[in-house]
């Protein structure tokens, strides 16, 4: 299918994000939420749905949901209610999931993304509600049975539901990245997609351009990487357009994305599965919070990505594209600011090092900024030696590698390896005289007007000095001597 085939169609996408909240214990019990424990060692009587137990709400999840609501400019409900969502599945021991339906804790938020033309576009956030996660079914290695691990049962989730305001897979990914960045800035979720801490379902439909009424949607479940989300949506859009153009109809159903085949397929239709018979959970009282509580939470909000980006441009004079990269995570932004605060050069120079050489080695070694081998102070130490002309930019890259390999600070490496830049003009002159004497032919050509040969001489001088001569001085003295 080509873009031209899409021309008559409008794509409509709404996303449901499940962000696992970064608490120590579960939403309704005192069992641990640590990832990767032995099966069922973190499933207590409440999580197992034993009779006679009572859920008690974790204080921290209310705080986290409140922070999220404030960060996306939403209204935070002073009174919210938990409800039971009833269905049978082996990984749900109680036979219902505790969630929120009619009175969620967060409603009417918004998020700005950049559309295809680079303009701001507002994406509505319908609601965000608190709920518990279910357990995990394991099928591999078991013949006639499935194994159930309930460690994840009762893990707190914030389900963030967008309006159907997204118009392409790219917009969907842009929105998702923003949500991902925000929850990590707020420290309310680690956002780890591999471990399932940040999952997404996409509701996708298409309609003829100009039509008001929404087309029938399909829901793509459990997408756990930004790349797969984009591919899954693109596949689904093409499938639906093909289907409609051939005179078919889209069926409202749940589909799974198969990343190996790069296609979505229908899950065995769970007829009637949508009859969840919600009702208020009699085990839990309404959650009430005061205006003072909300204002106190607001006071603890960190600087959010958008504000930080604007400040990096205004205060540090960074290029906007660089500010976007540096504010993608709070850890990276903090690292940059620590370097910028300690260098004599401009903040842009600090930014270039963080975005360039540092990001490259982090990427190469599969490390996060938090595990960097080079501290911000150490990096600033290197940048300052370039700024004060002790070393050239080229030598700096060599020293950077040595620092990464744990050979010491910039100053120690410069000292140990004798990498100090030669700025003594008489020393440079001596080398230049030697080069001129060694290459009489080139000297004659240069003098005959072949100006480009200056590069040849600079190269020879740098070679003789192992790159340690100050390039500016070399140029200047060479020109004078030739």
């Amino acid at each position: 299918m080509t873009a031209a085939d899409h021309a008559g169609w409008e794509v409509v996408i709404g996303l449901e994000v499940h962000a696992q909240l970064a608490t120590t214990s579960k939403i309704f019990s005192g069992a641990s939420t640590a990832y990767g424990a032995e099966p069922n060692t973190q499933a207590c009587l409440v999580d197992l749905g034993y009779p006679g137990v009572l859920p008690v709400l974790n204080r921290e999840v209310v705080q986290m949901a409140t922070l999220f609501g404030l960060a996306v400019n939403a209204s935070v409900a002073r009174r919210s209610v938990f409800a039971r969502k009833n269905y049978f599945y082996p990984d749900l021991p109680k036979g219902y999931q505790i969630s929120q339906l009619e009175l969620p804790i967060v409603e009417h938020g918004e998020m700005l993304i950049s559309d295809a033309d680079g303009n701001d576009k507002r994406i509505g956030i319908t609601r965000a509600h608190l709920e518990e996660d279910a357990g995990k079914s394991i099928h591999e290695g078991l013949d006639d049975s499935s194994g159930i691990d309930l460690n994840r049962a009762g893990t707190p989730l914030l389900e963030i539901v967008s309006e159907p305001d997204l118009r392409s897979a790219k917009e969907a990914v842009a929105y998702l990245r923003k949500i991902h960045t925000i929850v990590r800035y707020l420290g309310i979720s680690d956002g780890n997609m591999q471990e399932g801490s940040f999952r997404c379902d996409a509701n996708v439909s298409v309609r003829p351009r100009g039509q008001q009424e929404l087309g029938t949607r399909a829901e793509i479940k459990n997408l756990n990487s930004f790349r797969f989300i984009e591919k899954a949506i693109n596949y689904e859009v093409e499938r639906q357009i093909d289907l409609l153009q051939d005179g078919g109809t889209v069926v409202q159903e749940t589909r799974l994305y198969d990343s190996d085949k790069d296609q979505t397929r229908s899950m065995r239709s769970k007829e009637e599965a949508n009859d969840y018979r919600y009702f208020p959970d009699p085990d839990l009282l309404p959650v009430e919070i005061s205006d003072e509580y909300v204002e106190a939470a607001r006071a603890t909000l960190p600087e959010l990505p958008e504000a930080k980006l604007q400040r990096f441009v205004a205060e540090h004079g960074l290029k906007k594209d660089d500010a976007v990269i540096l504010t993608a995570s709070r850890a990276l932004a903090d690292y940059f600011e620590a370097v910028a605060g300690a260098v004599d050069a401009t903040a842009q120079v600090a930014a270039n090092w963080v975005i360039g050489d540092l990001s490259a080695v982090l990427n190469r070694d599969g490390k996060d900024i938090g595990d960097s081998n080079i501290s911000p102070a150490a990096l600033a130490g290197l940048v300052n030696r370039i700024h004060d002309n002790t070393i050239s930019g080229k030598i700096a890259k060599q020293i950077f590698e040595a620092m990464w390999d744990g050979e010491g600070s910039a100053d120690e490496i410069i000292e140990a390896k004798g990498l100090k830049q030669i700025t003594d003009s008489s020393a440079i002159e001596a080398v230049i005289d030697k080069v001129i004497a060694d290459y009489p032919e080139q000297v004659a050509e240069y003098r005959a007007g072949k100006d480009k040969l200056i590069g040849f001489f600079v190269g020879k001088v740098m070679q003789e000095t192992k790159g340690q001569a100050n390039p500016g001085q070399v140029n200047q003295i060479l020109k004078a001597k030739l």
């Binding site: 608490t23 214990s25 641990s32 032995e38 060692t41 204080r59 009833n86 006639d144 194994g147 691990d149």
Partner: protein
């Protein structure tokens, strides 16, 4: 009667209840009586009444975010029909 056989079959399926065919006639009648009885409530004017979420006029108490449970897997799994390597075993769930 507010319910019919199809509705009761649906409710039975959702509740995982198996009713014999001859049980339906009386189930439809009895359940309809209950629904009709409760339906009288909709005749009351509730436009000024806030929907009740809980019979107690109180707010939820919150607990500190701390791990208070210890590992009791072996004890809890004594009640299970089948376990293996720490997993609860159930009839195969096919996606």
């Amino acid at each position: 009667m507010s319910l019919d056989k199809v509705k009761v079959q649906h409710i039975a399926m959702l509740a995982r209840l198996k009713l014999a065919d001859e049980e339906y006639a009386s189930s439809v009648e009895k359940l309809s009586r209950i629904v009709d009885f409760v339906d009288q409530l909709s005749q009351a004017d509730t436009s000024d009444v806030r929907p009740m979420a809980h019979p107690l006029d109180a707010a939820q108490r919150l607990r500190p975010d701390a791990v208070t449970e210890t590992v009791e897997r072996d004890r809890y799994q004594q009640n299970a029909a089948a376990v293996s390597d720490g997993l609860y075993l159930v009839p195969k769930v096919i996606e």
